[in-house]
């Protein structure tokens, strides 16, 4: 082994560490500090109180088994996180598989990959608003369903519902699943697949015994992307859910707009803890560092 001089290594890591310290650690620490402050109409007051946390969980234990607002909100947020994760995983894996194993030339792969990024060519809000003429009561899908005689009256569940929220999320974030999984797949040694084939494995057995295990890091990274984004989202759930579906991000946003920063900070800290727990659980299943 070559000998490293540790100081040089530290110096090399210093710029990024500094950026992280300034723009990640410091704001995070401030958020935690503010979450125990008090507040009134127009200012936050330095204090050390757990009132903000207490108000968030007020009545949550006493009301059991009925869910209090906070639990309900988290349940709804986690539910959408799970549904979106499942859909993006299945769709993203399929697309990545197709791109990696069925498309032979690099040019076609690049072209198809670019096509996958089309949803990102317009702004988030415009993408979401464009669903309305499609899924709305008087939208194209309803017109088509009526025209084909599949339904007798206009369907309302297509828009401003859990369905439309999941649909928009999947549309937006499948790419985040495709990219890391595709990356993992491209690193799989093709001779392994041939070996599996020679050893008499069926296509399905090759998939479950060779491809999926070797794609685990990609799947994990993609899952972390999708879950963290969905857990903190308030715009997509707001617009596609007709502002009627609770999400923890929405609660934080409302509190911010009413200058209730400490309450918002307390909610943010709890959300952070929940998301960290989910990510911790995932990394226990797959050791990303080892696999990379």
């Amino acid at each position: 082994m070559r000998s490293h001089r540790p100081t040089v290594a530290y110096l090399q890591a210093a710029p990024l560490a500094l950026v992280f310290l300034l723009f990640f650690v410091v704001p995070l620490v401030l958020t935690v500090i503010v979450s125990v402050w008090d507040y009134n109409e127009y200012q936050i007051i330095p204090d050390f109180t757990f009132n903000n946390y207490r108000e968030i969980f007020e009545g949550c234990i006493a009301d059991l088994p009925a869910l209090c607002v906070t639990f309900k909100t988290y349940w709804s947020t986690v539910k959408y996180g799970f549904l979106v994760w499942l859909c993006t995983l299945v769709i993203g894996f399929t697309i990545a598989y197709f791109l990696a194993f069925h498309v032979r030339t690099l040019t076609v792969q690049i072209v198809l990959f670019l096509i996958c990024t089309i949803p990102f060519w317009t702004s988030n809000v415009i993408r979401m608003i464009s669903w309305i003429p499609l899924l709305g009561r008087n939208g194209l899908v309803n017109d088509a369903l009526l025209g084909l005689g599949l339904v007798s009256e206009r369907q309302e569940w297509l828009l401003f519902s859990g369905f439309s929220v999941v649909l928009a999320f999947v549309h937006l974030y499948t790419l985040f699943m495709i990219v890391p999984i595709f990356n993992s797949m491209m690193r799989i040694d093709r001779t392994l697949l041939e070996a599996a084939n020679d050893a008499g494995a069926s296509g399905w057995q090759t998939l479950t015994n060779v491809v999926i295990p070797l794609c685990k890091p990609g799947i994990t990274i993609g899952s972390i992307f999708v879950i963290t984004i969905v857990m903190g989202d308030f715009i997509t759930i707001g617009v596609m859910g007709g502002q009627q579906i609770a999400s923890i991000g929405k609660v934080i946003q409302v509190e911010m707009s009413y200058l209730q920063f400490p309450a918002a900070a307390a909610n943010a800290v709890i959300l952070l803890a929940v998301v960290l727990m989910i990510i911790y659980a995932m990394t226990r299943l797959v050791d990303i560092r080892k696999e990379l």
């Binding site: 109409e41 200012q43 309305i132 009561r137 007709g242 502002q243 009413y258 200058l259």
Partner: protein, 436 residues
Amino acid sequence: MSKKSRKTIAHPGTTKAVSRRKVIKGAGAVAGLAAGSGLVKGFPYVMAADPITLRYASTAVTQDTRLAAKVKEDLGITIQYIPLTSDDVVKTAVTQPNRFDILEPEVWMVKKIVPSGNLRGMDTRRIKQAGNITTVFTEGKVAGKKIGDQGTAPIKVVYLTGEESKTFSKDATRWMSIIPSVYNADTLGIRPDLIGRPIENWHELLNPEFKGKAAILNIPSIGIMDAAMVVESMGEHTYGDKGNMTRDEIDLTIKVLTEAKKAGQFRAFWKEFNESVNLMASGEVVIQSMWSPAVTKVRSQGIPCIYQPLKEGYRAWASGIALPVTLKGKKLDAAYELINWYLSGWAGAFLNRQGYYSAVLSTAEASMEPYEWDYWMLGKPAAKDIKAPDGTVIEKAGTVRDGGSFNERMGAVACWNAVMDENRYMVRKWNEFIAA
């Protein structure tokens, strides 16, 4: 109140190819902008000889570059707009009064700002048209008739006890906290073609007939007042003050809303002006709380939409011009000059033509064509096509303004946008309603 494009802020260096130099230049421009908007204290914005620049802080609603251009032309004063969200207006006024020379808060904000001692009582003796300011503000009356004063009605906060006072005066004094700029009366918007019958009461918003086709706005302090109008109209409860509810009243109002939500009454809630336009124009919603310019926008797409006057009256809002106590010398003189200009007619006509109301009606009338005045203020059928300030036709000849004349509309005001004493509790309850 619409969110207008914030034309005053240009994003630096976006058009040409990006070089490192340009990025640095862009950063410099951003720094300059920050300095100009007062983020960096004591940084001289204009280096030229003597022109006066007034930093004008308010929500984007009334920050119109056409107004600023006219001020420059008439008075030589440069208006530098500082667009803030309504929450930031209060926060800035209370914590950083040096950031602006002129403030245009909404009336409910004044209630929170004045106790901080950061606003200067404006001397009515220096304001030529002070005696002609609409009685909506000075007496709480329209055409001699008292109007609703629930919530933060202007009459409650418009007079101060002195020039540097932290307290409001019940009676008219020489000192005013704000000079009114714009105000209006809000109500429900409906799609007459999809409803097909007259709508006369607020309780129609929760009428099961419109199940899945109603909407309310998801801005807690305003949404809950619209809900209160509905609850009163249903005969469920009569509020002491819809703009300042007790905890029990908040609970009751949220309960009514939650039950309606669970029964599937609402198609959506909206938060932004354009969302409300979209919901209405697409037919997703046939009845909802709405703002006046949104109705105009739906109609401009050729879709019938009525800003429906209702028996229980309107929920009104108002903004005004205020001066920080720190404003002195030449800049103070310039500010008075600006206020006198504002009340002298051009600005009033400009605002009236957008469907808002202005402070001094007599001067605005003199600056408008008679047919415009008849349409906007007297509720008469338009003799010619009605045009917006930018020249586009917004109403065809023959139409009558929804709700009719100024006296009919402002005379029927029931309550005013407000901030409650129990605001913190109300926001929590509203979040519960959204989660329900």
